[in-house]
């Protein structure tokens, strides 16, 4: 079970894999995620399902190598299996025809944005997409997002592609041109989500952000994933992962993400010395 069926490096340290998981493929929806382990002694980590192949019983996962578990995943080959895959977890995105929607993605967060964008397009929305990254090669899934968008803007910090600047600059351009946007989805690195959500608020655009706190069970039983949204404690795994971007307590969120920095380093270094990387 949970065999890796294909594997592709799509950007430095970013992999695109398809995994055999028939029941997740059958029942999953855009916006949901899985919790997986690579080995008997492994940690449970959450990863978004970027695409579903219902007939083929496969799910697509796009992940960035940031620590021990994602590095271990990157070393698995086609034909190897993950130890556990649990899902689909979290609430599906609310897909309906809202008029014009703005999809803002950055980094590996684009992988989580893509399935939502695809469904919103199918539901008849006018989809305007902004994808941002430090440099051109880090902006993933451009073709696939373009195919489901009415308009696609790319921003890069170094100007190697599209607009030189960050996603909020592109948001400003759209506002100045008078684009009437019903709702935005913003998914990416925390700092990007924070500033893009502030920008959306400034422009009066309601927005969803997809929060990715540290999780353990992913089924609402531990409270590790708690976040504060509009002054209320919510569990990202069962109440989210999408929340009202205007109301997130970002500082608290960032503090909680850093809780195990020292241990993450120990774990990664131990693994690297074991595998000789």
């Amino acid at each position: 079970m949970y065999k890796i069926l294909s594997k592709r490096l799509i950007a430095p340290k970013e992999y695109d894999i398809w995994v055999e998981a028939p029941r997740v493929a059958r029942n999953g929806k855009a916006g949901q995620f899985v919790v997986l382990r690579t080995s008997e002694k492994g940690e449970r980590i959450p990863l978004t399902v970027a695409d579903y192949d219902r007939e083929g019983g496969r799910i697509r996962i796009i992940f960035q190598v940031v620590g021990k578990t994602t590095m271990a995943m990157s070393r698995l080959d086609v034909g190897d299996s993950l130890h556990d895959v649990l899902g689909p977890l979290g609430n599906p995105s609310e897909i309906e025809n809202l008029g014009t929607v703005l999809m803002v993605g950055g980094g590996v967060g684009i992988a989580a944005l893509y399935p939502i964008l695809k469904e919103l397009k199918k539901a008849g929305n006018k989809v305007i997409t902004i994808l941002g990254g430090r440099t051109s090669e880090l902006v993933i899934l451009k073709e696939e997002c373009a195919a489901c968008s009415d308009e696609l803007l790319v921003t890069t910090d170094d100007g190697s592609e599209g607009i030189r600047g960050v996603v909020t600059d592109a948001m400003q351009i759209l506002a100045e041109r008078g684009e009437k946007i019903a709702r935005a989805w913003i998914i990416g690195p925390t700092i990007m989500m924070k500033f893009a959500a502030l920008k959306a608020k400034e422009l009066g655009i309601p927005c969803w952000v997809s929060l990715n706190p540290i999780m353990v069970d992913g089924t609402g039983m531990c409270g590790c994933c708690r976040v504060t949204v509009n002054d209320e404690i919510r569990f990202a795994c069962v109440d989210g992962p999408e929340f009202d971007g205007w109301g997130v307590n970002w500082n608290e969120f960032m503090n909680r993400m850093g809780q195990y920095k020292d241990e993450e380093k120990i774990s990664l270094e131990k693994f690297q010395s074991e595998v000789g990387e």
Partner: protein
């Protein structure tokens, strides 16, 4: 005869408190055969046997004790396993002091302790486990198909009993290992996981399929399950943490007991970095609550190397809901108790880490609805306890994933499944429920007891449907 009975229970070997405070090995080492037979001889074999009535699954206690006293261990095992599916577990974690041992005739004699029924149960179960395995031929499984959701003691009991009756049973478990609280909640030093795995192995040998990584309501819908099985038992437990919602709850270092214990037990954080999942390295830990969960969290914190561990409980020692044995163990190990105290606020440093907890002293007022005296804050008595880690062990609510995905199922006003206590029947035909998801957080043996009853009603339901 009463004269011959020693006043105290036969002493049992335990790890030294100083040593065990630094390891996760089991605290209690168990009786030798000689000691067990000595203890068994303390039983009066009373005609009325009040102990049986005190046992939620009505084990023939004098029966198994007699066999043990006679040295007939196979017989003792047979009597035990007639009534309970998990004796090695129950002998270790049941609150015997309020059940069988609480009503034992010997204990009623002035100056005498009751028979150590729990320790004897454990002895027989461990003896059995050490015997060479007998090949089991799984019973024929042609009477029907039953789905069991959740693999805690309730679900495991239903599964084992129905398999023995001739049903094909599939257990669906959300986590990557079956066992429920036995696996993720109760620590290794009280209930070695080896024992839980062995008991589950025995249930598997009866032909029960256990599918992990299957959260019903997400991975599979209730409709899918109901259309492919003749009946369903829901035993999804009550593990959802209730935070007290004090200011500062989301500071780094504040945990629910569920997270704290899951990291340690299910994820083996005490063996980090051999296992990948870490937990916080703490110096000063404070645990809020007075039940088994609080004791387990505090004693685990100590074993992880904390310098000082304090339990803060809002009532007094008399009201402590934890098993008395576990309270004694905690005291021996050096856990500090702060009774009649309640937290009011978490205080953090500039980086968002917990550094102290503001508490207030309490006094006991008039008895409340539960009959226990209500704790009231004493004005002006606030003080601060330094702590880098706080664990809230103040109770849990129902696990909601399945309930939210299955609104047809009737709940009671506390958010638990509304099911008949004797039969496990819910408002939907063919859907049964039991254990913590019906009663709220209770005990292993109560979950098992209702599992046993539900298995019988499921059998009657399926056979009735076939005849109709």
């Amino acid at each position: 005869m009463a004269q011959k009975i020693t006043p105290k229970k036969t002493p049992i070997a335990e790890q030294d408190p100083i040593v065990r405070g630094k390891n996760f090995d089991e605290v209690c080492l168990g009786y030798s055969l000689e000691e067990a037979r000595l203890e068994a001889a303390r039983c009066l074999q009373c005609k009325t046997a009040p102990c049986i009535g005190g046992c939620p699954v009505a084990i023939n206690i004098p029966g198994f004790i007699k066999a043990l006293a006679d040295g007939d261990l196979p017989k003792a095992w047979e009597v035990l396993s007639d009534a309970t599916a998990l004796p090695a577990v129950c002998g270790r974690v049941c609150p015997q002091e309020t059940q069988c041992e609480g009503v034992c005739t010997v204990g009623k004699i002035k100056g005498k302790e009751p028979v150590a029924i729990g320790k004897l149960e454990r002895f027989v179960a461990d003896w059995k486990a050490a015997q060479p395995e007998e090949p089991v031929t799984p019973p024929a499984q042609d009477k029907g198909k039953v789905a069991v959701i959740g693999s805690g003691p309730a679900g495991l009991t239903v599964a084992g009993d129905l398999a023995k009756m001739g049903y094909k049973v599939t257990v669906f478990e959300a986590l990557h290992e079956p066992g429920g609280v036995l696996m993720y909640g109760i620590p290794e030093f009280r209930l070695p996981k080896e024992i839980v795995r062995r008991e589950i192995g025995n249930i598997r040998k009866l032909g029960v399929d256990v599918e992990v990584n299957s959260v019903v309501g997400r991975t599979l819908s209730m409709e899918e399950i109901r259309s492919s099985f003749d009946a369903v038992f829901i035993g999804t437990g009550a593990g959802t943490p209730h935070f007290m919602r004090l200011p500062g709850t989301n500071l780094n270092g504040v945990f629910s007991a569920s997270e704290y214990l899951t990291r340690i037990n299910l994820m083996h954080a005490y063996q980090f970095p051999d296992y990948d999942t870490p937990t916080r390295k703490s110096k000063k830990v404070v645990v809020f609550g007075g039940g088994n969960v609080a004791m387990d969290a505090a004693r685990s914190a100590l074993r992880l190397g904390a310098d000082e561990v304090t339990i803060v409980y809002r009532r007094s020692v008399e009201e402590l809901p934890a098993r008395i044995e576990e309270y004694h163990h905690a005291v021996e190990e050096g856990i500090v108790f702060n009774f009649l105290t309640n937290p009011v606020e978490y205080i953090g440093d500039e980086k968002g880490y917990l550094k102290a907890v503001r508490c207030i002293r309490m006094k006991l007022g008039e008895p409340d609805a539960s009959g226990r005296r209500r704790p009231i804050p004493i004005e002006g008595s606030e003080f601060v306890i330094e702590a880098d880690t706080a664990v809230e062990a103040i109770g849990q609510g129902s696990n909601k994933v399945l309930l939210n995905a299955f609104p047809e199922l009737k709940l009671n006003r506390w958010g638990y499944i509304d099911a008949d206590e004797k039969t496990g029947e819910t408002n939907l035909p063919g859907v049964y429920a039991g254990g913590d998801i019906v009663t709220g957080a209770a005990t292993v043996i109560l979950a098992m007891g209702v599992g046993r009853d539900a298995a019988r009603s499921i059998d009657a339901y399926i056979q009735g449907k076939k005849q109709a």
